[in-house]
Symmetry: C2
Amino acid sequence: MAVVGIGLIGGSFALAGRQAGVLGEVVGVARSERTMLEALHVGAADRTTADPAEAVRDADLIFIATPVAAIPDVFARIAPALPDGCVVTDAGSTKRAILDAAAALPAHVDFVGGHPMAGSERAGVMAARANLFRGRTWLLTPGDASGDAVERLRATIDAIGARVVVVGADDHDRIVARTSHLPHLVAAALAGALGECCSEDDFIGNGLRDTTRIAVGSAEVWREILLTNADDVLAALAEFTAEVERYRDALVSGDAVALTALLEAARACRERMGET
Amino acid sequence: MAVVGIGLIGGSFALAGRQAGVLGEVVGVARSERTMLEALHVGAADRTTADPAEAVRDADLIFIATPVAAIPDVFARIAPALPDGCVVTDAGSTKRAILDAAAALPAHVDFVGGHPMAGSERAGVMAARANLFRGRTWLLTPGDASGDAVERLRATIDAIGARVVVVGADDHDRIVARTSHLPHLVAAALAGALGECCSEDDFIGNGLRDTTRIAVGSAEVWREILLTNADDVLAALAEFTAEVERYRDALVSGDAVALTALLEAARACRERMGET
């Protein structure tokens, strides 16, 4: 198989697949010499290259784990070199734009969109670990891919202990706009709005640290995620700001009943998520 | 000493103080028979009563750990029974309103406002633990209290391993509006706005769980905190919604440069907080 963009996600997939014995030779693709050496060092790849086309030439599974914005370019570079019948997948956080871009791939390969629901504040292949996906959901958006291609990919993902859930690209983007992209925007806006208060160590508790934790994510990665899913994110943001307005109105009017109702509803929503 | 409202905070203070050997007899005050039995069971009190006035009669330290809204009523009930020279303190999350209400206490006692920066999603004296405050900041707003009273209280708080920071009530309320109250409102508004999406288990990751975790806090407790500090919370909320508007504008116009700048600034703010 080939892993194009062998960082935290790509490296963890390779480590997990090798541990499970479901991958043959793994070719890791990275732009920097340092990442290539690190990928070999942690055992995430058997060999490495900076050339995606060279890496995919003999692969039956190609896993694109670059940032979202780089995926269309990877498609263009690997398209001429893809062998017949291989399965191409990705790990991008938005799926509609990527499925559209996958139209550039040749007809003799199958593209199955993927989105593993796992990650870490740490980035890079040195942070990769074989159990990153264990017990986590791995969303697949098959688009026009053949059932056989989906099942082959599913078997590999099952083998590394993740749980495959198949979903349409539109539903995927609409829901993750709310469960992932909006929360990132909100956490970042909160951290940004606090400004100088972020240095008030004496006043900062675990509540604020939890609420803003994801704001440490890469600005480049999240910029692309938000921009490629802008319509759904803006719709989700409108729902959020309407709810914020309800809190504001209750505070302005000193309406304890309305405020309690809002807080109770929020509490019930959060409790449905589990794992407090 | 007397602990009026012997729940998580009051019980943990009593357990810690007893462990450190800096408290004499501890009288726990609770409204329910069950809480009284629990306080005795976990060793947070030597005896219990439902009558605050009876509890404080021989106390040299009175710790009011009820919800914020109940504190003025506790002041009124204990005022006639407070012995000369005792120190009264509290654990309320807003301080200006409480210092104002403390004017109802007799001149022969000292009130020192307090705000331990510690807590738990769990509530009640059964969740109390002696190390809850270890290494945490304990804010004190002395108001008109004597230096001697502040030092006596400081010695007790030092003994349980917390770190005293003295701050004016106005500064306290302004800063915690941003580091604690606004984050709670934002986390709750996010959980509430998600609605049905909170049940989409396949799409919910640790990022969303972190960002909304504090929304499970008691609606009654947080309603009172937000209402008693409404002016500062509304000012902080305006800063937050202005920042959210900047994200919205960047998304609407597809302005990658502006979005990156916002996300980078947020990332820098969050990193200043430490303990990701």
